[in-house]
Symmetry: C2
């Protein structure tokens, strides 16, 4: 494989995994030496990550995008639009057996599952659910939105109760979808997204001071 995609993948992983904090400055030369690649693939990676919203230009120079609470709220509205549309599409399909695959995905998490896995499955639920619609654009929209939310969700302090509640909501959405009850499924999904957003923004706003102390730039709403 070309080294280009490798740089892109590794750099994205570092950003999403918060190994490089939100708001940190990036220099092409540092990335170059860090991954042993040359500047061309580094630039390609930065251009791609820019369109994903993970890095941005800071005048001249690059910056890892800060966590932006106003942006998180807007993304929630966007998610609601595209995820609900995708879900309604899925509910209208004749064969909805694919929801079982997602159900199984949820089941794969138990008390022994590491936090990373919970985090990943929590996002993949929404991404895979959107994929079932068969609409490539709705799917990509959801995937990109979840990518943008990923770091914030990782920073969020989630107690056990919130987590199991989210899982219950996921299951309820799947149940309605399986029955083809689009209105109910859409209602549940909307509620889930709005609730997630509220908890997320509240948590980050409360922790803002602590997060900044850890070097993470968090922009207020």
């Amino acid at each position: 494989m070309s080294q280009m995609q490798s740089v892109e993948k590794q750099l994205r992983q570092m950003i999403l995994g918060l190994e490089i904090g939100p708001g940190e400055k990036l220099t092409e030369r540092w990335i170059e030496s860090r991954f042993g690649a040359s500047r061309t693939p580094v630039r390609a990676a930065l251009l791609r990550l820019e369109t994903e919203g993970l890095v941005g230009r800071d005048g001249r120079g690059w910056t890892v995008s800060p966590i932006n609470l106003a942006e998180l709220e807007q993304i929630a509205v966007y998610r609601e639009a595209v995820e609900v549309a995708a879900l309604r599409l899925t509910c209208s399909l004749a064969d909805r057996s694919a929801v079982d695959v997602i159900e199984a995905m949820l089941e794969s998490c138990d008390n022994d599952t590491p936090r990373e896995e919970w985090h990943r499955v929590g996002m993949d639920f929404h991404i895979e659910l959107a994929r079932l619609s068969g609409n490539e654009f709705l799917f990509r929209a959801v995937r990109d939105a979840m990518t943008r939310l990923s770091r914030a969700r990782w920073l969020e302090v989630r107690d056990e109760a919130a987590l199991s509640r989210a899982w219950a909501e996921h299951r309820a959405i799947l149940a309605s979808a399986r029955l083809g009850d689009a209105d109910e499924a859409a209602r549940l999904l909307s509620g889930h997204i709005v609730g997630s957003r509220d908890r997320l923004v509240t948590s980050l706003a409360n922790d803002r001071r602590g997060l900044r102390a850890r070097g993470f730039a968090v922009v207020a709403a």
Copy 2:
């Protein structure tokens, strides 16, 4: 301004203006000499245009994306989701006076207006309407979708009747939005998008042979 953005802008213009036909092969070296730029800005431009869906990789090498009828249908569904969401948001705003600006935009077209201008305003209507929602993501989604549709709409044969009907629908949507009647506005917009899609796909499917004869790759639904 850096030459990079110039190459990107000019190349995008050539693709959207069908000066380079859908399906045509592109070589970095040709672009390089055509615009008097070096390969670095050329590659940056191609990477950007790739994310916009205007060019794609063809194994090794680049190709101007063909017109894809299946994709057009999916985009219509996507548009419906994001545009309706944006419109509902706009309807819920206290101050909806900005719709008058869009109304004025429509008024700027009359019988003497060149076809290019009708085309541009027809797209800008949807883009600017989405911008009013104040949601950056919904706005970008609509803008990107319209960019992807742009070439197909340019190829579409539209008679006078269809054009004035579209304009009437635009005005009706604005009227409902001004009153804050979200449900009615959403209903009208949905109908408009679905109707546009049907006419567009039908027209292109009918003309497919002729378009291919002109060197334009058109992929069936």
